[in-house]
């Protein structure tokens, strides 16, 4: 008995120390000038010259400025570091006048040389972000406040690309000071630190725990209402939900639709819902399914409304051709496939479908993919097409995209810059076969010509006409199944004010404009 008593006493003592004065210490409401965001993982790096992940962009986007910026919640761009710009008649030379008096966070002046250096670094590293500037030849600093971009050929979306996170202007002095023989572009330094002129500075990064952004006191623009942004790494979505419910975090990034439905009605919680350019489609391997009638049959077999209602709980809009609603070039009158299994059967017959089993590939990458794959399988089977489902690891599936080792495969797409180029040229130009964008291995010389012309033209009306014509063909020939564009849900505390959703900045929050009640 003595033994038991001793144990009980010890446990009580320990509990008293640990739980003593607890209530206050557990549910910490962040102060008004601190925004707390719960996200599921660390970014890999925060290097604008290297990262192609929204997760990382969210952290560093507002630590840097760019020549151009998105106008509020729209896809249009306006000057940011640039004051004015002009373009040569042939569309290959762009000249920018820079805003005077802008300094990097360490006091170094931001001049034309910094812009030139940024793009030199980008091209030298040659990772994902450099792909956003496919026609950029070189950048010249004409004088301290004048910078000239020379393109190898005209590029319609050029201005828009300058708002891309990869176009963030980095501080040459900070980079050169850390450059070594082995690491001439200071990738290691910029992987973990920011060196920009934006309204925030990355102050601290405790891996797996938190990142701290602090307002940049030297910022040239209006002072943000927030003095700090605390990004907490919370891998478990259930925990994110609890933290949001208790007000410990202001924005919870990775809640499931179930969890969002459960917290929706709670006081103090608000769900922001916005149509996005996050597009869900199906790649049809055109090399294996070469007859357009067969592909049309598949498009008629899909129950679009049913998928949106069940798989996406109504939070999606059926696409009308490849360019999503809200993006320039979207054609509201474009032909839209409907659920018509009878028609599908007829087309299958005409195409001479031999009843062979098709392989539909997907991965564990997105939580709704298994349900979507099963739904499609049932749709196809109702129209008389046998489909076998194959699930892979994400990295493996991407390999298979690249090699074209599939009949059908689920895929998603988001645009890097706000231009129909992101859809039309990537998806249909036959020089982009495989992972690079044309994952259907589609080839039509006429479409190639149309989208290439549209890319090279700087006459917006002409471009839209060319894209519209190309769209008609690719809807007719159905190299992909255009399923839906998702409506994004962002759960946050009701006290968060000034949040602006920009479809180009998915999973990113406009920290400089946000305040709290």
């Amino acid at each position: 008995m003595k033994l038991c008593r001793a144990v009980v006493v010890w446990i009580c003592l320990l509990a008293a120390v640990l739980f003593g004065g607890t209530a206050a210490a557990v549910a910490q409401q962040p102060p008004r000038d601190v925004l707390v965001v719960a996200t599921s993982a660390d970014p890999q790096t925060v290097d604008p010259g290297w990262e192609m992940d929204n997760h990382a962009w969210m952290v560093f986007y507002y630590a840097y400025d760019r020549l151009m910026a998105y106008k509020g919640g729209t896809t249009g761009v306006e000057p940011q570091l640039a004051e004015s710009y002009s373009v040569s008649p042939d569309g290959t030379v762009w000249t920018f006048k820079l805003r005077p008096g802008v300094k990097f966070a360490d006091g170094t002046p931001l001049d034309a040389e910094a812009v030139r250096f940024t793009f030199e670094r980008l091209k030298a590293i040659g990772a994902g972000p450099s792909e956003v500037f496919p026609t950029l030849d070189r950048v010249e600093a004409v004088d301290p406040l004048t910078v000239r971009f020379i393109l190898t050929r005209p590029f319609g979306p050029f201005l828009s690309t300058l708002a891309h996170p990869g176009a963030s202007i980095v501080n040459p002095r900070a980079v050169q000071a850390r450059a070594t023989q082995e690491d001439p572009w200071a990738k290691r330094y910029l992987a973990e630190n920011t060196a920009g002129s934006g309204p925030f500075v990355l102050r601290e990064w405790r891996k797996g725990e938190r990142l701290v952004l602090e307002a940049n006191p030297a910022y040239w623009g209006p002072k943000p209402a927030l003095s700090r942004v605390l990004i907490r790494i919370v891998p478990e979505s259930n925990t994110q939900r609890l933290l949001l419910e208790r007000g410990e975090v202001d924005i919870a990034e990775s809640l499931t639709p179930d969890q969002i439905a459960q917290i929706e009605s709670q006081p103090g919680v608000r769900i922001e819902r916005h149509p996005s350019f996050f597009v869900q489609y199906v790649y049809i391997n055109n090399r294996k399914i070469a007859d357009p009638r067969m592909r049309q049959a598949l498009a008629y077999a899909v129950d679009y409304a049913g998928i949106i209602a069940t798989v996406e709980r109504g939070l999606a809009v059926q696409m009308r051709g490849p360019i999503p609603k809200g993006m320039t070039g979207h054609d509201p009158a474009a032909f839209q496939y409907t659920h018509d299994p009878q028609r599908a059967r007829t087309l299958l017959q005409q195409a001479g479908y031999d009843g062979r089993e098709l392989r539909l590939l997907f991965a564990d990458r997105f939580p709704w993919w298994p349900a979507l794959a099963q739904y499609l399988q049932a749709n196809f089977s109702a129209a008389g097409v046998r489909v076998k489902l194959e699930q892979y690891a994400w990295a493996t599936l991407r390999q298979k995209y690249q090699e074209g080792d599939f009949d059908l495969a689920l895929g998603i797409w988001t645009p890097d810059f706000a231009d129909p180029y992101m859809f039309m040229n990537f998806w249909f130009d036959s020089s982009n076969w495989g992972l690079a964008g044309n994952r259907a291995f589609y080839s039509n010389p006429k479409v190639d010509e149309l989208v290439r012309h549209a890319a090279a033209s700087t006459d917006q009306a002409e471009r839209l006409r060319l894209y519209a014509e190309a769209q008609r063909t690719v809807i007719e020939e159905s190299p992909y199944l255009y399923l839906y564009q998702k409506t994004l849900q962002i759960p946050m505390r009701a006290r968060v004010k000034g949040y602006v959703f920009n479809p180009m900045l998915v999973d990113m929050y406009n920290f400089p404009g946000i305040s709290k009640d």
């Binding site: 290097d47 797996g208 690891a393």
Partner: protein, 334 residues
Amino acid sequence: MWAYALRRLLAVVPTLFGVTLVTFFISASIPGDPAVLVVGQRASPETLERVRHEMGLDRPLPVRYLGYLRGLARGELGRSLRTQRPVAGDLRERFPATLELTAAAMAFAAVAGTLLGTIAAVRGRLWDTLTRMVAVAGISTPVFWWGLLLVLLFYRQLGWLPAQGRFDPFLDPPPAYTGLHLIDALLSRDWQALVIASRYLVLPAFTLGSVQLALVARMIRTGMLEVLREEFVRTARAKGLTERVVVFRHALRNATIPALTAVGLAFGELLGGAVLTETIFGWPGMGKYAVDSIGSLDYPAILGFTLVVGAGFALINLAVDLLYAVVDPRIRYG
């Protein structure tokens, strides 16, 4: 004993070599291209090629492996494809968190398990049944279920303990002498930090330790029951010693040896197996890092993690073998 320890240490080297060989070729033969994961959705073939070259992925496998071994000989674990940083640095940053969590879980399992096991063996049927129920529940409940349950109870319902992380997100942790928050707080005499760090540690350590607790309790109980039937225990009782002295001084020490083996093995397992617990509680350790690395085929990071866990496993086993001699004076190494 020192000669023995040294011999055992040397024997670890070929084991670790084998570990690198197997892990390297397995992770390299998984279909999928790490470069693709780095350059994003839609890189052109030229970009892919360049990045692949920069990451050294265009060289033949054996050459890559030899390069890796050469680095290893210099004490380098290579550069992570994902974070662009030396793997050794990445792991060093996260190792203390995992060590602190596993050590706390193990300490909890060892102490509570020994107590439960002893009580089960010494007290009557009722206690035995009770501890068996605890043990079965501990072994058969998946870690993530335990974790979620505890979070719901202690964070959501009672509001007693934090659900997530390793330290108050609004405060700075104690200065990192060792990287173990508890020890650092003690060293810097920061009692508030000590309490905060302990509070963050309780739920994850309890969750992670629960399975091992059950194992230890069962082993101690069995050992105890055997030992208590032995003649020296009867002798001790006949000498008029109190039951407490008989049980704890005489019997428990003898019942500990099999449990010690279990604890040693379990500790190694915990090092590698803290993955789920770390994910549930947002604990910034190596387990979470390993999972992220596997997801992006970051083979230098996967290898580094495997090596560290392998080395930890080997060292702990050695330590356990040496401890036998301490617990049981009849065992000698030489």
